[in-house]
Symmetry: C2
Amino acid sequence: MRRNNPAGRLPEPPNPIADDGDETHFCRTCAFSGACIAEGYGKPELLELHCLVEHVGPFHAGEHVFRTGDPFRSIFAVRAGTVKTSMVDAEGHEQVLGFYLPGEVIGLNAIYPDHFPCDAVALDTAYFCRFSFPAMSALATRMPAVQQRLFSLISKELGMATLLAGDHNADARMAAFLTDLARRYEERGFSGTRFHLSMSRGDIANYLRLAAETVSRVLSRFRQQELIELEGRELVLRDPERLQQLGRNLLPR
Amino acid sequence: MRRNNPAGRLPEPPNPIADDGDETHFCRTCAFSGACIAEGYGKPELLELHCLVEHVGPFHAGEHVFRTGDPFRSIFAVRAGTVKTSMVDAEGHEQVLGFYLPGEVIGLNAIYPDHFPCDAVALDTAYFCRFSFPAMSALATRMPAVQQRLFSLISKELGMATLLAGDHNADARMAAFLTDLARRYEERGFSGTRFHLSMSRGDIANYLRLAAETVSRVLSRFRQQELIELEGRELVLRDPERLQQLGRNLLPR
DNA sequence: CGGCAAAGATGACTTGCGTCAAGCGCGGTT
DNA sequence: AACCGCGCTTGACGCAAGTCATCTTTGCCG
């Protein structure tokens, strides 16, 4: 097992796949694994879910997983690597919507418009499970736990988007961002106190609706306040509690 | 029929109920009506959906429909009136999440946390259809169109939240807000160029993440640029195209 | 009617963060 | 090695919007 090595300098993939699953088991970190296990579905049902999964990748840093306007047919669960999603507005400005780690799902915001409203770009070498959405919906009608999981995933994403929309100063945004990333890494079995930032300062800034320079300044300040250690993109949280406190207004309760 | 009279001075309800539905028909503006009609469900299925609906209200201005922390059991479709949803953050600051007009659905953001993450308050006299969510989910497993409609509603809400999260100046936010309201009124059969603002300047400001004074100033400027007419809360859009143009970066495409 | 409270408008000032500009360090290329 | 480009940092400055303060309007209730 290769835990606690998210910043590992392996040539490829940089974020190792936690595990691979097989005919009757999910990847351990999979967003859907809980849906079945919780309700005690057996092999036949698992098999059905596996049937509609397709492993895709690798995508290398900078490559698109999907693009704005692509017809919506599938959602993607990240198996390894990191993805950023972003829209460009009417004036051509990029707007980063989110970063997705192994075990997380992208594409849910495409359901309503029925085409992808954003681009998804790999930030490092990334692998995915692709789920046909019509097939998944059909399965959901027979497996309430799958339906519930889908509702839950979309609703969760809605909660996240809402929090970011509040008006908060640069320090609070940054602290919340780091705390949230840490929590998500930890949930997936990685270290929640030291990890690698796969995204540039510019992407962080864009995501937090700040200028890149502001991100730089805030990080410098955090460093001299000994809240964090940071060398390039290698991050250590020195005082997670105080960070969480700083960002508490943006964090889910 | 009582269209184009949203600002009518009827004593109660101020926004008249568009229609009432019966055993086998939905209210004309209902968010779910399309789900069945589109797929040609007949009376038995409609009856099932009607069975899990309960009409509630009136709620008077300032009364809570639900509160933060209430266990999540139902979603609500607005039949008449206007509702605002809001959270209070760790420091006790209110954060307005949205305003909901007749035909729209509130409570979807409660699915994931399984309790309401926000308060819902009537802004004027309001009536609702309450749908038991477990019953609705169960029905959705037998009626794919209902499931699809639920996915779609949540996903749509996600899209809205995302747009508001961008960084835009006060004019763009205000213009987008007015344009969006107009579109939604129009979709429901009301006038899209003259309507009543059920919410205070303070609520608008909070929703747009601006100061109340800024809202006041922007509205004054819009008035003297002849984009709008505004007396108290009675609004006329004089130049909807230019408003839309001003807010285009926040508006769905 | 008159008095009070809340909502809204407007002006003066303050400030957080964006913009601009300069400089550093590092990896890649020739 | 020398050069370049890019990501990142840091400082100086300006502006959009927040804060504070004052005033007007409106609605409400005795």
